[in-house]
Amino acid sequence: MPQSQHAYVLDVMAEDHPGIVASVSQAVESLGGNIDSCSQTVLGGYFTLIMIVSLPEHIPPNELAERVRTAEGANRPYQVLVHPWKPHAGSAVPEPTDRFVITAFGQDQPGIVRRFSQYLASKDINIVDLYGHREAEEFVLIGQVEVPKRWDIRMMQADLEDLGRDLGFTVKLQHENVFVATNQLRFARSA
């Protein structure tokens, strides 16, 4: 949660190069602000950053965005979006879910992400992390997803395998603990 009531969501996109985080954080600090949380990713040479920042007093979002665009060291154009931060308006009691990983491999073609994501959306499955990559003719799609506990996993696996067959894709849906268990030192307790 942000530290103050004057919190903003800050989104920055730019061609990747050293110094972007330094100039953005410099701009926040110059306003007396604090970074509450942040996450960045780089894809295909492009950098994107999302931050929640708390400022000591209200400032129009456009002004904050302009401050970041013209920050010291920002010698290349940044695309910046700023929104006032609001608490997430979800349901009072969130539906219990389990974390699964969906992986799909096959020959690249338009519509892969759409077909899989539409299926997941139709089951109220939230994608919390998504990775897709084309290497030569093959496309790999990996999604970390939250599956409502009301679903029978074996039925969903059958649905996804069927969908994969239509597309010529190999698809797997597996509980995340198998990835935790095989990669991390601390043992994942079974869910």
Partner: protein
Amino acid sequence: MLRTEEILSTIDMLHAEHLDVRSVTLALNLDDCAAPSIDHVCRKVRQKILARASRLVEICDRVGAKYGIPVINKRLAISPAATLLAGHGRGAAVRLAQSLDTAAGECGVDFVGGFTALVHKGTGAGDDVVIRALPEVLSQTSRVCASVNVASRKAGINMDAVHLMGHTLLDIAAATADRQGFGCAKLCIFANIPEDNPFMAGAYMGAGEPEATVNIGVSGPGVVGSALRRRLATDAKLTLGDLAEEIKITSFRVTRVGELIGREVAAELGLAFGIVDLSLAPTPTVGDSVGEILKLLGIGQVGAPGSTAAVAMLNDAVKKGGLFASSSVGGLSGAFIPVSEDATLAEAVAGGHLVLEKLEAMTSVCSVGLDMIALPGDTPPETLAALIADEMAIGVINDKTMAVRLIPVPGAKAGDVVDFGGLFGKAPVMAVRNAGASKAFVHFGGRIPAPLQSLGN
């Protein structure tokens, strides 16, 4: 949040390299099924097995699907049948075995282990009944597996029992002559039998274990082989130490998969989780071979000088990886070298590269013993006993488990090929040199005393 590379490397291991859980073995103490009438014993055994194990297969399939890892075999291991059979006769032993066979079938499990006698220091009444019933039991049932512990570090080697087992093997082979002596494939003769081994044919529930528990056997020679192949392809300057490290890391990951599934299956059954046993147990499928791993380690022909050192390194690296992965490691935990079940080993035997004596040396550093070895049907009983004795001596002196499965194939000569089918595979019949020359030694009988190492307390 998981990293993409972590997900991709696990996917490689699980799908491209066909990692599976080889066996979920529900171990069950049946001592409270003892009764004066064998009918009553059999009724109680059936009720207890169905009450505890009827959901085993369904739960394994569901949990396996959740993690995307198939559980290949679901099995039962019981407390030694000898305990239930003390005071009964051979006919009762066969009745009990048939009840076990039927109950296991009703639960959908493929094997039930624990038709067991522990005779390392001497033979009790129930043990004698078990051993003498083995030819009928192993020929008249399909799921029952037997084991006889004839030696231990603390007790030495019971040579009377070893001698008896030489004769018993021939009797079992004769009783299953129509299946090339296959009954012997369902019998393990042990030194230092582990109480919690989930792998057949030697699984049973030993003393000191809980009333019921779930033990897991994970395998994965194919996974280890693929990891080595990948490492060898990407790194030109590797030492054996680097390769041992690769085996260790892979073993860690495979063991983790077993424990994950085992704990969840145990929780769903309302039972305590027992142990996970990571043993590289090959199958006849190409690629699922310990022999292939030895070749990747630079042994051009399995059986060549260096083979024993390579097995030692492999076995040790597997144990170390498993040990770090789980605080509940048990069973055999190491590398198996069952000849008929490993296509590369069988090929080495057929090519004359791997002989019985070299295999014996390799068993001194692997986690089992001479395993799934087809022998000429006319091998004298004393020679079979002496082969067993040699293996037991290695186990007793080195404080390691030895599990011997010898199959004297009726009517077969050295070089004939026998096919046991399925996971039991096929292999050439191995020549036994100096057959008959151990007769006087075996006929002395008695007990080879416990070694100096037994006084370690």
